[in-house]
Amino acid sequence: MQNDAVGQMLDAELFTLVGVKPDEADHIKRKSQTYFQDAARRFRQNTPSVIGMIFLAALVVFAFFGPLLVKYNYNTADLAAANSDPSAAHWFGTDELGRDMWARVWTGGRISILIGIIAALLQATIGIILGSLAGFVGGKVDEFIMRVVEFLMAFPYLVWVTLMMMVTGSGILPMIMALTLTGWLSMARLVRGQILALKNEDYVLAALSLGAGTRRIILRHMIPNMLGVIIVNMTFAIPNAIFSEAFLSFIGIGIKSPETSWGLLVSIGMKQIYTYPLRLFLPSIFISLTMLSLQLIGDGLRDALDPKLRH
């Protein structure tokens, strides 16, 4: 009996009103994050991309500090030590002139990576400027710019760059110039497309109807949406530039001795593939790793910055 009463009391207790707790009802389970916070989180969760970042970071560190770790200059010949295998004195061995391979590889890396990054940045700048012009102004300006882009794209890219290189001559600066002049096309098309699409987006209309001015619309609404694709495009532009540099140096019109780059080292190493394969493998592996890392990072960034995948 007593149990029954207790039981009944407990039951009755279950029927006390709880109602709606406003903050609980509207409680959004996960914290709201800004677009970039969310993107950063998604990127961090993407394993291949993180691995790519780690590799890239390591490569960049080595490229810039590597040569400093040894006392040799990349170009100093030491015939007495020529053709030696990797040892404590020469971590990557020496080449046929006795030059330290570690210094050569990492100095070459510096140049290749620098060219890649600078060229990509400049390409992006030109591309953004021209693309925005085409997208915003429209009309004849747009048509003209797009005709030029279409025409340039009809050339095989490397043929175009080669031709450009021959006109500018070889060396680091000419190479950057040549790459920049030929590589801005995809960014321009991309930016133009983005602006055209964004101009018509509902939220731009909404902002306008709420009284926002043009500048505010561009700053607050358009640019954050474009930044994502711009960054991704740039991330893919760097390995393209590195590859172009490698290719051009490989066929002999890019970086020339006494300067060095990974492409040039590959070209030299190729001739010695049967005798001293290491001289080919080292720059090859590092070029591949660099491009691989940038690809992975680019893929990861693309997925992370895609607004449609936001939670």
Binding site: A12, F15, L17, V18, G19, V20, P22, A25, D26, I28
Partner: protein
């Protein structure tokens, strides 16, 4: 196929989940209801309540993985089809049960002529030759009100307007005279005038061909206009079922009442703010153990949070899942009934 039962479709304890990166989404949780022959039954609920997943899983239209039918019985025309494989279901899809989806632009293959998309189904299910199938297709197009059907057969989806495309979808669906048509928000993507035209066609089909229709919608006006019975879903579960008149005049579940109350009325006091339901839909990855509506229910009690209510019948064909019916909640129930006494919707003719 037996004709003993009066129900064209019976679903019991139907449970469907999705495997996603974030976890298992329990989209449909132990749902049971029936559809009688030739009746129009509406399923209402918010987005994410499981309506589409449930109706599409009946004939396993969702790719599996990631969808998974965990348990439940599906009886179509007296036959248990829940364990049927793809080939067995082929004789049911299109011929017995047909579907119309929400967006007619994406539901039609953009690279195939309309005519072929209709005859495709006919040829798959009947012994007609191409010519006869084409003639039938032309007839179908005419029946759904598409002018110049002969010429239209040779055109592509992008050459049709939204309303016309939906008519084509209907033509495709009724080609083999199915006994059950599932219309998943067929008019949501259309403007109001076209909406009523399409609904008119559906009503016509129901009356002339005796086809049962499951009409998924979130628009209570459409429910009042079209359906004989209505099923109310929330958080993957059914919370109330009943005849349309009965529900509109005498809904017993707080969620249903809120739905009805939140429909703006032309004759309402224009200074009153629009009613809405506070809060947002529940997380279906870790659904609550009790009634899914509890966090947003003004009349929820401790027991609502802990335990899912059992089914009770409050009238002929009127089923309810709510703890308010318990005698120990009578005080709260009184208040509930008083608060919503003027939330009746006039049934539209």
């Amino acid at each position: 196929m037996s004709t003993m039962t009066n129900n064209i479709l019976e679903i019991k304890d139907f449970t469907v989940s999705f495997d996603t990166y974030a976890g298992e989404v329990q989209a449909v949780r132990s749902v049971s209801f029936e559809v009688a022959r030739s009746e129009i039954i509406a399923i209402v609920g918010e987005s994410g309540s499981g309506k589409s997943v449930m109706t599409q899983s009946i004939v396993k239209l969702l790719p599996s993985p990631p969808a998974r039918i965990k348990r439940g019985s599906v009886i179509y025309d007296g036959e248990e089809i829940s364990s049927y494989n793809f080939n067995q279901l082929r004789s049911i899809k299109g011929r017995e049960i047909a579907y119309i989806f929400q967006d007619p632009m994406t539901s039609l293959n953009p690279t195939i002529k309309i005519g072929n998309q209709i005859t495709e189904g006919i040829l798959a299910h009947s012994k007609l030759d191409r010519k006869k199938a084409s003639e039938k297709a032309v007839e179908l197009l005419r029946n759904v009100g598409i002018p110049n059907p002969q010429r239209r057969m040779e055109q592509y989806p992008h050459e049709f307007s939204g309303g016309m495309r939906q008519r084509v979808m209907i033509a495709i669906a009724i080609a083999m005279d199915p006994k059950l048509l599932v219309a998943d928000e067929p008019t949501t993507a259309l403007d109001v005038t076209t909406q009523s035209q399409i609904l008119g066609i559906l009503k016509d089909i129901n009356q002339k061909l005796g086809m049962a229709i499951i009409l998924i919608t979130h628009d209570m006006g459409i429910v009042a206009n079209m359906a004989q019975r209505v099923v109310v879903m929330y958080g993957g579960k059914i919370v109330e079922t009943g005849g349309v008149m009965e529900i509109f005049e005498n809904a017993q579940h707080p969620y249903t009442r809120s739905l009805l109350a939140s429909v703006p009325r032309l004759d309402a006091d224009s200074t009153r703010p629009l009613e809405y339901i506070l809060g947002s839909p529940p997380d279906m990855i870790e659904p609550p153990a009790g009634c899914p509506f509890a966090p947003r229910c003004r009349f929820s009690m401790k027991i609502c949070v802990q335990r899912m209510p059992e089914m009770s019948e409050t009238g002929p064909g009127h089923r309810l899942y709510c703890h308010l019916l318990d005698e120990r909640a009578s005080a709260h129930r009184q208040r509930f009934i008083e608060e919503y006494s003027d939330a009746r919707l006039e049934v539209l003719e």
